[in-house]
Amino acid sequence: MTFLARVRLVIVAVMLIGTVASAPAIAQKLGPDGAPNPTASVTSERDLLKQFRRVEGRIDIPDSKAAVLIQPAGRTWDYFHEVLLHWGGAFVILGTVALLGLAYLILGRIRIAAGRSGQKVLRFKAFERFSHWLTAVSFVALGLTGLNISFGKIVLLPLIGPNAFSSLSEAAKYVHNFTSFSFMAGLVLIAVIFLRDNLLERVDIDWLRQGGGFIKGKHAPAGRFNLGEKLVYWLSLAAGVAVSLSGLLLLFPFYGTDIADMQLAQVVHAVVAIFFVALILAHIYIGTLGMEGAFEAMGTGEVDLNWAKEHHDLWLARQLASENRQGEPSATPAE
């Protein structure tokens, strides 16, 4: 036997062994009737959904959204929207109203302790008041139309019937979508013009230590804005940015977003908005019912001298000092 013949023998032997060894593997791929099993390499829907959040494939039409075959997350979003949001939202908003009612019963209206002096000090310039009310009116419109989308079918639909409720909700949808732009404009204005006076200061700690002016007979020191007002400013700014960004994503659906992003945007929008409404309810309470002499600051722009003394002593001192320096009889706007 030549060397070449031996090599040939070894190769044939190896091939034979290989064929025998691979026979069971081939047999597994055959169907019961002996035909090749075409599903041998198919991934079942169950396995695909275990690996991925959704099943996607190729589609012939240009609509890329349609390439998502199955997204079980839709049912999760349904659960959020119909169970968590309804119960959680109702709890937070009604809970806030109840707490504010309780505060009114216990604390009552916080009066100007020294009574009205009759002297007025300018607290907010016309442009500042315009910025506030632009945002405020937009917010109320957005809040009511937004709550209608979530709670309207529970509260309003049984009262006015499906056709009237549909017309109302469609109008509300457009009001919500377009008022968002005046809200965003107002938010930017507020953010800019009130930024300096809302930076945290040392006096804010004292204000907090002295009970934030909620303890009767004591008046905590504060600059133009106290810590409570600063919190409203910063929380509103954060919530405002969050609802604006998520809202823009919802206004332009599927621009660089997919179905999961859209669901997430809606969840962020709804959750932040619920807490935002609760925050602003508290803000409205303290600015109207909760405190004597507070509303006129944003109403006419001028507050009573004694109110300013009791709630914003440091600011008032600065105001009066600058007035004396300038020698003007009328108060200058707060800066």
């Binding site: 169907g31 019961p32 009737d33 099993n37 075409p38 599903t39 041998a40 390499s41 198919v42 991934t43 079942s44 829907e45 169950r46 959904l49 099943v55 996607e56 494939g57 190729r58 589609i59 012939d60 039409i61 609509d63 959204k65 349609a66 390439a67 998502v68 075959l69 199955i70 997204q71 079980p72 997350a73 839709g74 049912r75 979003w77 349904d78 929207h81 119909e82 209608n148 989308i149 979530s150 309207g152 079918k153 639909l157 499906p162 056709n163 549909s166 909700s169 469609e170 949808k173 457009y174 919500h176 979508n177 377009f178 206004l251 332009f252 659906p253 599927f254 179905i259 859209m262 669901q263």
Partner: protein, 200 residues
């Protein structure tokens, strides 16, 4: 009472898109909307499968639950219908639908989606129009179901991959097929739509 369902036997679907065309023609579906579509999984790879998908007419339909104006509802046959008169075009049903069924005639920017359109199981509309009327056809498309017929997409499927009819009956047909041929990749979407798969 029958419980109407769809079942796509993906081992038979050949991605011919005839169901898509039949649906568009039968219901005169507006431009840009595909009530039924065929999606190919693992395209060009071993184990490639095509699945024809439309509204599955779910049990506890999530679209109906999230609708802010309650315009979507299941009929007594389990067919999910909606009223275009009540729809406000908010887009929520599309976010909730596991199968991408609800669609809109407009782009959707600034909420301008128009009235939602989706597969009606060829059973007309869920509005106030009389069954089988021209007004109903113009808004929702064909009402074959009212004439005792099944959806056209399934009726004309050349390989009988797409099945429509009572859920128990089409599940039985699928089971027999799987037993006879020895394989089956499952009833796509059933677990999500009806909370139950088909065990063979």
């Amino acid at each position: 009472m029958a419980r109407m369902k769809f079942l796509c036997d993906a081992d038979r679907c050949i991605d011919c898109n005839a169901c898509v065309t039949a649906c568009k023609n039968e219901n005169e579906v507006p431009w840009g909307i595909n009530r039924r579509r065929v999606v190919t999984i693992n395209d060009g790879k071993p184990g490639e499968r095509s699945v024809s998908m439309a509204c599955m007419h779910c049990t506890d339909p999530p679209c109906a639950a999230v609708c802010p104006v309650n315009c979507i509802y299941p009929t007594e046959d389990g067919i999910v219908l909606h009223s275009k008169d009540v729809c406000i075009g908010c887009g929520y049903c599309f976010y909730a639908c596991p199968f991408g069924a609800p669609q809109y005639p407009k782009v959707g920017n600034f909420g301008s989606r128009g009235k939602m359109d989706k597969c009606t199981y060829c059973a007309g509309g869920g509005g106030d129009e009389p069954s089988g009327s021209a007004e109903e056809f113009a808004k929702y498309g064909s009402n074959r179901f009212g004439e005792g017929k099944l959806p056209l997409c399934a009726e004309m499927c050349s390989t009988k991959s797409l099945l429509a009819g009572d859920g128990d009956i089409i599940a039985q047909i699928y089971k027999e097929r799987v037993l006879k041929r020895g394989y089956g990749s499952g009833a796509w979407g059933w677990l999500t739509a009806y909370h139950e798969g088909i065990e063979v």
